[in-house]
């Protein structure tokens, strides 16, 4: 089983062609099925719309005016959030970018090289290595978080950035996917030809195989990025110093303070808005890459 994230968004030319062919076959529109999907879309967009409205209110308006009525304090709220403890929020944003961005990049490279070796080399113990890695897919990462804490505590790495970065670099699932991509997209003859020309194995991997696996690797990167950004428990356990928090742990802490100081709620809401906007943009932009993934045929979807 492979995994492909494929909210396909055909490029313009392709879309035009599709539309043209759809017109020939075009069948009567069904208001029911269109309607059900639109209701689903509204359900999914509603909280995002709400947070946009709510973050434009000051803390007294939040509880006194109708919740979907926009107000004019969005900029004030952003300034206030930025001033909170000398810009701690932006520190969280930066941390998140490091944890998810750097972590997912490292994870993708390691998954790629492991998957490539497992797909393209014949060596003793290969089956055993692959089966053990595969079992890792079934081990829920969340259950590992607490033992990882105790092990890292032994070597004094807890409450550092490493404690959040390192455990999330290994991704058995990513290796599994990379193995499929490597087998499907890197021709053995190319590897052998480069070898006869005297290229080193790492050179062959980095310069020849890696680009060939490209679109599939974007998928692995996205998966890992979302997984790290979504993982709340690991940083929640590992970190005590709030300067090291990712946005998720930071906002959850602010919400906790809100119970005694409701003015915090405005900060939490504005923070939630600011942290999902880049994600949503990234998501929409990367949809194109998911499409490449499909069109390139790297993965049979």
């Amino acid at each position: 089983m492979t995994t492909t994230l494929t909210p396909t968004r055909p490029d313009r030319a392709q879309r035009k062609a599709e539309r043209a062919s759809a017109r020939t076959f075009r069948q009567k529109a069904s208001p029911v099925s269109t309607g059900i999907l639109i209701i689903g879309a509204i359900y999914c967009l509603f909280p995002v719309f709400w947070v946009l409205m709510a973050s434009s209110k000051d803390s007294s308006e939040l509880f006194s005016t109708f919740t979907l009525m926009p107000s004019t304090h969005l900029w004030d709220n952003i300034v206030q959030l930025s001033q909170y403890r000398d810009g701690l929020f932006w520190r969280w944003v930066l941390n998140t970018a490091i944890y998810a961005g750097v972590g997912a990049l490292a994870s993708t490279w390691i998954s790629a090289i492991s998957g490539y070796v497992l797909a393209k080399f014949e060596f003793p113990g290969k089956k055993v290595v692959f089966s053990i890695l595969l079992m890792g897919v079934l081990v829920p990462g969340v259950i590992l978080a607490i033992p990882q804490y105790f092990l890292l505590a032994e070597v004094g790495l807890t409450n550092t950035m490493w404690s959040v970065l390192l455990p999330q670099i290994i991704s058995p699932y990513g290796i599994y996917l990379a193995r499929i991509y490597a087998a499907a997209s890197v021709p053995t003859e190319v590897i052998e030809a480069s070898r006869t020309e005297g290229a080193g194995e790492l050179y062959i991997f980095n310069r020849i195989a890696l680009p060939m696996m490209g679109p599939g690797l974007v998928t692995i990167f996205l998966f890992q990025f979302v997984a790290v950004w979504n993982n709340f428990m690991l940083p929640y356990i590992m970190l005590g110093d709030d300067k090291l928090f990712p946005v998720t742990v930071g906002l959850s802490g602010l919400l906790n303070q809100g119970a005694s100081a409701p003015s915090m709620y405005t900060l939490v809401i504005t923070g939630a808005l600011l942290s999902i906007i880049p994600l949503i943009i990234l998501f929409l932009v990367l949809q194109r890459y998911w499409k490449v993934d499909l069109a390139a045929g790297a993965v049979k979807a």
Partner: protein
């Protein structure tokens, strides 16, 4: 996680680099050197924590004398004491029960809706499919903590537009954050975050089916709904099974949503879900040994569930293919 078949890649007949005349160096050292980063990280952050948890779960602290001074506390072998404690702990049983109820509400609803949306997206009679697909998938970009924050506020009667409407209509709707509603509240957050992802998995699977199958059925006079139920659903059954499996595993581990909602409600205890209980034992009560035993039990239950489910479903769904 999205799932599609890729049988080609895993077949053992995949041509691999022939290195029959290779030296020991090229046959063994090179591949293992290239695998080293992966293997080292796997051992350090997956294998070692599991072994260490197992080790901890068979230990306990022994207090001698009054428990004062540095030598008064020692760690001794505990046998299965910690497991007995876990399994007889009513709090643990209650948290498992809550999570099961939560799963029974969430999984059928989430997968049912995901399947419905995927089939509708695939239907030629649907309009605005691109917009709906993107919109429904979008919550996947929002992490559980933030979606819990958003919904948490939407559940608060003072802020919620729903309660505003209920109020105007004169209805007295109990808060979802009350003890009776909180399971639904959390299930809704997970539904919101998960339905789009599962929809995309199923939709991807549907797209891989050659459309001539449907054309043939249509010529035979099958209706759109018949085609959906009799042809499309069985074809994408493997994808549905995998989404169900991943959803079940995720359900047993629910942690972020209830932890984030806690400040907004009194009806979530620190042991609401099994993992919250583990967290509390390990960090609030400093009882890492029973926390370790509980983690092992959760992991085993997860495994057992997954295997059992796969076996049952495989027999039912794919038995006729053998």
């Amino acid at each position: 996680m999205t799932v599609t078949e890729a049988p080609v890649a895993t077949r053992s007949s995949t041509p691999t680099v022939r290195r029959g005349r290779g030296t020991f160096r090229s046959r063994v050292l090179v591949p293992y050197a290239m695998l080293a980063p992966g293997i080292i990280l796997f051992v350090a952050f997956m294998a070692a924590p599991i072994v260490y948890t197992l080790f901890l779960s068979f230990q306990k602290t022994k207090v001698s004398g009054l428990g004062l001074g540095s030598g008064a506390r020692s760690t001794v072998f505990a046998g299965i004491d910690n497991y007995v404690t876990t399994l007889t702990n009513t709090e643990f049983g209650a948290s498992v029960g809550r999570v099961l109820v939560y799963g029974f509400i969430l999984i059928p609803l989430m997968l049912g809706l995901a399947l419905l949306f995927a089939l509708l997206l695939d239907s030629r009679r649907t309009r605005a499919a691109g917009f709906s697909r993107t919109a429904i998938f979008l919550p996947y970009a929002v992490p559980a903590v933030i979606s819990s924050l958003l919904w948490g506020f939407l559940y608060l009667p003072a802020v919620s537009p729903f309660y505003f409407v209920f109020d105007k209509l004169g209805w007295d709707v109990p808060s979802l954050l009350s003890s009776g509603g909180v399971t639904f509240a959390i299930a809704n957050i997970a539904l919101w975050g998960g339905v789009g992802f599962n929809m995309i998995v199923m939709y991807t699977s549907l797209k891989s089916v050659p459309s001539d199958i449907y054309e043939a059925a249509k010529l035979d006079g099958a209706s759109e709904i018949q085609i959906a139920l009799r042809i499309k659903v069985p074809i994408i059954a493997p994808a549905i099974v995998m989404t169900a499996l991943f959803s079940m595993v995720a359900t047993l581990q629910v942690f972020a949503e209830p932890t984030t909602l806690r400040p907004l409600t009194n009806s979530l205890s620190t042991s609401w879900s099994p993992l919250m209980l583990v967290y509390r034992d390990a960090f609030t009560r400093d009882d890492i040994y029973s926390a370790a035993a509980t983690s092992i039990v959760i992991a085993l239950v997860t495994f057992a569930f997954s295997f059992l489910f796969l076996r049952v479903v495989q027999k039912r769904a794919f038995g006729q293919e053998d």
